[in-house]
């Protein structure tokens, strides 16, 4: 996964970051969808969440289309989700 991640990383044009710490469902998912629509092909979106259910809802929504690149649990209970359009 990690190797793949960096290979993909090379062709990325823009990186967006969405900070969703302390935000309540469904806000993070709405923000992510919104940003995803705005972004152009090849852009990377990094979403930072701190609730397991937020993680699941975003994962469910984007992995349907294989957009999720990586999910990292950075510190206990905080996840970074990388989505590439």
């Amino acid at each position: 996964m990690a190797k793949n991640f960096f290979a993909e990383y090379m062709v990325i044009k823009m990186i967006y970051e969405i900070m969703c710490m302390g935000e309540i469902c469904p806000l993070p998912l709405i923000k992510a969808k919104h940003k995803f629509e705005e972004a152009s092909k090849g852009d990377l979106i990094k979403i930072i969440v701190d609730h397991r259910c937020t993680l699941e809802s975003i994962d469910n929504y984007f992995s349907k289309h294989d957009y999720i690149i990586e999910i990292k649990e950075v510190i206990q209970g905080v996840w970074e989700i990388y989505i590439k359009k």
């Binding site: 469902c25 701190d50 397991r52 259910c53 937020t54 950075v74 905080v78």
Partner: protein, 297 residues
């Protein structure tokens, strides 16, 4: 006894003034006076001392005031339940929660629960554990979330899991490891005495033979947010629950300090009154029982 008379009396004592009570209840002052007199007649006791400096409850009035608070809380809960009943949304759930769970863990859980319960109106409040237990016992709230565990003849308790607290400092703080003897050199911002977390902190420190009274306590606050900002500004140390500092740890405004592996672990649990039977309310308890651990991350 008319409930309106009780309300008039309660508001008058609350504001220590008949005119304020009249204003809030959209009544004239003589009307309020009359209602209170009627209440005094019903109860056959003088409740208010009237003087030219305003009103004051008598000793008996003080007693009635305390009961009035409970009676009116239950009454209000009944009225709201009844409104829901009329509006076809049968399910009204009132939850009182201790601040950490209420602010950081509960909103997400409620959202998840509401996905499958469309007609649910949730009413949440934050209060300290002691008050939560009291509210559940007297029936003014359906479900409570507390730190620690509590059960008695009226209350059932479902333990949900464990949280941890840590010593925290601003991320500029030079040390990552401290010995406990050095703690007395730093200022502390500690959760207020009314919060049950404070008791857990004191007990744990005592187990490691640290007397909290010997620490330099700069400020006590019931608000975790205000403690966080003081600590982040570098004014001193604190002991805070992990769940409340995740964001600050991630953005590196706060960092955890290891003090001789002192471990503040505490339980949190859900409590409800044993009289609670109505299904939608009970559904929530089942939901938390089955999924609580997942959502309370």
């Amino acid at each position: 006894m008319h409930i309106n008379n009780l309300i008039a009396f309660y508001k008058t004592v609350y504001y220590k003034s008949i005119s304020y009570a009249a204003k809030e209840l959209y009544l004239s002052q003589p009307a309020i006076s009359q209602q209170i007199k009627a209440l005094e007649k019903d109860l056959d006791t003088i409740l208010l001392k009237r003087s030219n400096r305003g009103v004051e409850p008598t000793a008996a009035g003080e007693l009635v005031y305390q009961y009035a608070e409970n009676i009116l809380n239950i009454y209000e809960n009944m009225i709201k339940d009844l409104e829901c009943f009329k509006d076809d949304c049968f399910n009204r759930l009132s939850i009182t929660s201790c601040p950490t769970i209420g602010q950081y863990a509960l909103p997400c859980t409620l959202h998840e629960f509401k996905k499958n319960h469309k007609n649910l109106l949730v009413h949440t409040e934050h209060d300290f554990t002691q008050k939560v237990i009291y509210n559940v016992k007297e029936g003014s709230t359906d479900i409570g979330f507390i730190e620690g565990c509590y059960s008695d003849e009226y209350i059932n308790c479902i333990p949900l899991g464990k949280y941890k607290m840590h010593f925290v400092a601003s991320s500029n703080f030079p040390e990552k490891i401290l010995s406990k003897n050095k703690l007395i050199h730093y200022n502390f911002f500690i959760i207020h005495k009314n919060c049950s977390l404070r008791k857990i902190i004191e007990e744990t420190l005592l187990n490691y033979s640290i007397d909290i009274k010997k620490l330099k306590i700069e400020m006590e606050s019931p608000s975790i947010e205000s403690i966080k900002s003081s600590v982040a500004a570098g004014h001193g140390l604190s002991i805070l629950p992990y769940i409340s500092i995740k964001k600050e740890l991630y953005t590196k405004t706060l960092s955890i300090i290891n003090v001789e592996n002192i471990d503040f672990t505490y339980n949190y649990s859900l409590i409800y009154n044993k009289r609670l039977k109505k299904t939608p309310k009970y559904d929530f308890i089942e939901f938390i029982k089955n999924n609580g651990k997942e959502f309370f991350c």
